[in-house]
Point group: C2
Chain length 332, copies 2
């Protein structure tokens, strides 16, 4: 009898907690402007059984860009800052870097000179810091960096510079039966060590750029060795390719913030039925950073031109977000 | 009051149904021999909170080979049979195939002659039948074939030639908080159209071999076009690479049946903590097919040699499985 009473009690508690959870308004850090209303209306219609727009839970896929969509990307992509920090850390083992560009400029603290070498220079620095170690070793390096490195402007940990409204959107979608994925131009193994803790997105739901790896048994211990050779660039037209390769279904919702997300948004909304494309527009120079068409990082130009015509929703950070970071007090 | 009573009632019903579900014995089509006992003891210890072997649910990853592990692979890989059927279907559009090997032999019904060209011939046939169409078109072709094509020996649909004990193992693991993945040398897009229906494994949990794709907007409609170029071979040392690329975590359990699974099993058990590696040994020539060291398809030689020493569990189909196919009556 006691067992039965306990069962009843715990079952009741469960039921009540579900009821309570549902009563909370979704997306509290969003102002009740058009994007919030559109998102909620969309989620309600695709999750309502019997609705003509109903989509079964396994097909509810939502893909999110990372840089500039889930976390800040200014003054430059955080992975570039990671590369510079790694070059400094590795310099003692590479005396030749003191006189070899682009490394020499990084070591002198002149990042702009280092980046003047364009894509080739960036790739060279990426390979020098991301390859020739095992996947486990790289995972450790990223974990240590992300736990201690701080943003040059705010002095905050990078994982504190994520967007509170986006954390709420991820949680709201998951509570509505969606599976949330990251689809980012950033390195897949640069994101996985912390996306589960910060975004609730497990490693198997992270899609990103990658280098090749090799399976090797070293002294009886198997390892995956990271090779200095590009495998896949998950940007632009690469995003639909990465989505197909990893997920194998077209998203219902895609969220991005730059022209690198153009093809992901286009691919998503052309899937037939109800689909939603969102673009985060960085309009708030006071609370965050203000940039779009002319920015070298996260340029938003072509996608901004077609958004209205194609029915893609522009999220105006200044107008639509009540709060930017988790650490901020609620309200403007 | 009525509402509250209803809530209580439905909550109680839920609780009781959970209790009932747990009371059912797992793995009913397995004889109660050593493999079944080992699997159950393993699952109980890694899922028991407070146990020194406890593993949190998000880290409970199980990977399964497909050919010869989840479904039959004799008299040859079913995807090869698909290729031959496609060559016959496409022949009218390729009059040149009548005199061009390996196609000419396939059209004459002499599959062995076609395969005499080795890997090069197989690759040529694969590309001729898998590429130069969109991903959506290929998906349709696979769906139609898998719904109608029949096994040359049994006359059954291929999806009926899956192993009942493995369906039960997949379900048991999922009920124990595991996420189940396929990690197969077969084509990823050849499996995805039916793995959810047949195995309960959604497209995003299928890892396999692939060809390259290209994003293209054709007449205003975006498409992913399949290119006649290999992208990745998910076999041998490719399996740990594919696991890392798609899942980003090491499995707790890996199940295979051939030397192509060797590295996946090795990678899995070397992950530290409690891990389980299983090898399906095809020992039942009456109910299924009997083969191992000398077989051209699904050769099991090197893995058989080391299994005992490394603690990999051999599942002897004849001894350990009470039932092979879902359609069979229970019991021998």
């Amino acid at each position: 009898m006691i067992v039965r009473a306990l069962l009843l009690f715990s079952a009741l508690a469960l039921t009540l907690s579900c009821v309570t959870a549902r009563a909370v308004e979704p997306l509290p850090s969003w102002n009740d402007t058009s994007p919030r209303k559109t998102i909620i209306a969309f989620v309600e219609k695709v999750t309502k059984e019997g609705s003509p727009d109903f989509v079964p839970a396994p097909e509810r896929i939502a893909t999110f860009d990372n840089d500039g969509t889930l976390w800040v990307e200014q003054p430059m992509y955080f992975q570039a800052l990671f590369i510079f920090d790694r070059i400094k850390a590795l310099a003692p083992q590479h005396p030749e870097w003191e006189s070899k560009e682009p490394f020499a400029s990084v070591l002198k603290g002149d990042v702009n000179a280092a980046l003047a070498g364009g894509e080739k220079a960036l790739l060279e620095m990426a390979m020098a810091t991301h390859a020739d170690m095992t996947t486990a070793e790289f995972d450790d390096i990223v974990r240590n960096w992300i736990a201690t490195a701080r943003h040059p402007k705010t002095g905050r940990l990078y994982t504190e510079m994520v967007y509170q409204p986006m954390l709420e959107l991820l949680a709201y979608l998951r509570a509505s039966g969606f599976k949330t994925f990251i689809v980012s131009g950033g390195g897949i193994e640069f994101m996985r060590p912390w996306t589960e803790r910060v975004y609730g997105i497990p490693p198997e739901q992270v899609v990103g750029s990658s280098i090749k790896t090799k399976y090797e048994v070293r002294g009886g211990r198997p390892a995956l060795v990271r090779l200095p050779e590009l495998n896949f660039i998950d940007d632009g037209g690469g995003k639909p390719i990465g989505i197909q390769a990893h997920i194998g279904r077209r998203p219902l919702i895609a969220v991005g913030n730059s022209d690198g997300d153009f093809e992901m948004l286009e691919w998503t909304v052309s899937g037939g039925g109800s689909r939603l494309a969102l673009i985060v527009h960085h309009t708030d120079g006071t609370r965050e950073f203000q940039y779009d068409r002319e920015s070298h990082v996260g340029r938003l130009d072509k996608a901004l031109d077609v958004a209205e015509r194609r029915g893609w929703i522009i999220v105006d950070m200044k107008r639509d977000w009540r709060r930017i970071y988790p650490s901020e007090p609620d309200g403007k």
